[in-house]
Subunit: 108 residues, 2 copies
């Protein structure tokens, strides 16, 4: 993962509404959820939900697909995994204290 991509992802996750969206979509799994559904869940009017969903998609954290009238959003697990990897490896050099603190066991 390139630094600029990580910066965009961190920026995307640094906003309350967007972080809630991500957590909700991770729960939703491969089914995903529609923009309207997401907006209701996180308490955002349509334009606001749309704004933040666009930001998340721009950052590569979610994907979107039109399904008839609705647009279904899904978490991009690969991207999230890459970000965890970036943070753990590229930023923290898999430092023992970091590994210990995040309960990763002995394998890391």
């Amino acid at each position: 993962m390139i630094e600029t991509a990580a910066l965009k992802m961190f920026a995307a996750l640094s906003q309350e509404t967007r972080l809630r969206i991500v957590r909700y979509l991770v729960e939703c799994g491969t089914e995903g959820a529609s923009a309207g559904d997401i907006g209701k869940t996180v308490g955002a009017i349509s334009s606001r939900a749309s704004f933040h969903l666009a930001a998340l998609e721009q950052a590569g954290i979610v994907t979107s697909e039109r399904q008839s009238r609705k647009i279904v959003y899904r978490a991009n697990y690969e991207a999230l995994g890459a970000l965890v990897s970036f943070l753990l490896t590229d930023c923290c050099g898999r430092h023992p204290l970091v590994v210990a603190c995040c309960d990763l066991g002995e394998c890391c």
Copy 2:
């Protein structure tokens, strides 16, 4: 880790200069580095380095300690570990795809 703390840390890491500072300080280990040293390393004039170091300290990502004339900054490995944990567990629910993508082996 509480959500607001994670939001602050993500915001702190979403800025190029600050991300560079963090990566440098992680390399420096327990010795840490002075503000001037950090500024030169990441290419920032003193006031800018100071501004970003304050932001990182505010977010809990680094600590500071005066040593005679210099102020030594150090990476807060516990906080970074907690953030990795938050991202992996609270945000991604340790989803198999995420775990796989970030090369965490079988233990997670």
